[in-house]
Amino acid sequence: MDETYRGGLELLCDSKKIHNVNIEQQNGEDKLTMKDLLSWIRTNLIKERPEMFMKGDTVRPGVLVLVNDCDWELSGQLNTSLEEKDVVVFISTLHGG
């Protein structure tokens, strides 16, 4: 699975924008969801200031989540199920100009 961080979020993960990750299914669950992915990211990828990325068990306000170039609101947010080779992008909204 590919993950991309944009809008400054990459700074939370060693300034690396694209992460190719392989996540093992936990407890024999047959499906991996966005919820699983976020908790995996929080434990394994975020190097500093987790509050800049997450709030509770979801992303913080101002972060858009895209699964295969589509807003995760359209695919069930945290319940979006993920498959091999899916591309997940996290974008922090920008305000500058």
Binding site: R6, G7, G8, K17, E51, M52, R60, P61, G62, V63, L64, L66, D69, C70, D71, E73, L74, V89, I91, S92, T93, L94, H95, G96, G97
Partner: protein, 458 residues
Amino acid sequence: MSASEWEILRELDALKEAKATIARKISALEAQLKQIQLQNDAASNAFSSSSYSTNGLTQDMIHRYSRHLMLPSFGVQGQANLLKSSILVVGAGGLGAPALLYFAASGVGRLGIVDHDVVELNNMHRQVIHTEAYVGKPKVKSAAAACRSINSTIQVVEHQEALRTSNALEILSKYDIIVDATDNAPTRYMISDCCVVLGKPLVSGAALGLEGQLTVYNYNGGPCYRCLFPTPPPRTACQSCADGGVLGVVPGIIGCLQALEAIKIAASVGEPLSGRMLLLDALSGRIRIVKIRGRSMQCEACGENSTFTQQKFREFDYENFTETPLCVPPVKLNLLPSESRISSKEYSEIILKKEPHVLVDVRPAHQFKIVSLPKSMNIPLSTLEVRLPEVSSALKKEEENSGAVSGSSAQLYVVCRRGNDSQRAVQYLHKMGFTSARDIVGGIESWAHNVDPKFPTY
């Protein structure tokens, strides 16, 4: 500066002012003359202009916009729509600059500009509508003059004020399409809400660093800004171009794309970028267009049961909502007792008296490279924890070099850009046993302001 220099500068200013006034008079008279000649031509011509089918476009218009008219998908109708349209650009900065130039050039009938700021030298690398002659003058004046010099046949309206809930409804209601070219979260929420209550399409762009974003809100049943971002982000997640930096051409690209989207809507051609968002990653050369959610039924502003009215808009506190002031003076923290702080003037005396000390500059390394105080050592705040031993050894070395003379121990001072991070650093240093550490109030900006006016600021 000597009296004679002042004299010359004053005279130069006066002459420039007079020159500008004459230039304005010349262009006004030229336009007037052209108008009269046109009328005379029309009157004297055996074929009155009305005998040709020009769909309301004048001879000059047909010539000026001929390349638009030649486009089968734009054509006379597109241009006629554009000429009848009105567009308001909020913000004459990095995004607004190219957008305004294209709006003026393409013949938007009435073009409004809102901005309260003045042109600064550090704007010029990206705000390409302004010229050096306008540094220190209002951006609205500068942008309007540039638009008029490109196209004297359109109406340019100057709104030299900050957009607020008290004036936004009145200003925005006079235009068909709104372009958000601002630089902060509270204004973005305010413009979106105002567009919702007035039923205006909003072309929204943003740029920072090497990235840009673009979408059209509140268009034909599409989502508004609040549908996408119902809760504002924490203030710490909102960087400005002044703090984060921005490559000039990036807002330029997004501003041009905003012009494109607004022109499409004004001319009623093509498919506006509604329900989709364009993401520009300039560094890797990638543009992505993603599908975003539609209008949210639960949206506070535009949802089914929304009670957001003009009255509510006027009373809404956007600064409180986003926890960000509308006019952003840099935050001035006050974390330390006064005995743990010294002024830049006091520090300059310490240098003059050659008192033994170590100066730690806690700015990020790339900022330290821009300019730094003599003999300062750079330990960015984020690395202070692991680099504490370097502070200890620098202090020790300083004491060895001067110890016999003064007998006293070397002092530890901390500096940053504006005097906030330096306080955080000193707080940490106190905790780690460097109890005499002090920070320089106001950072290197204060040094430039109060000690050495030749010290570069950024």
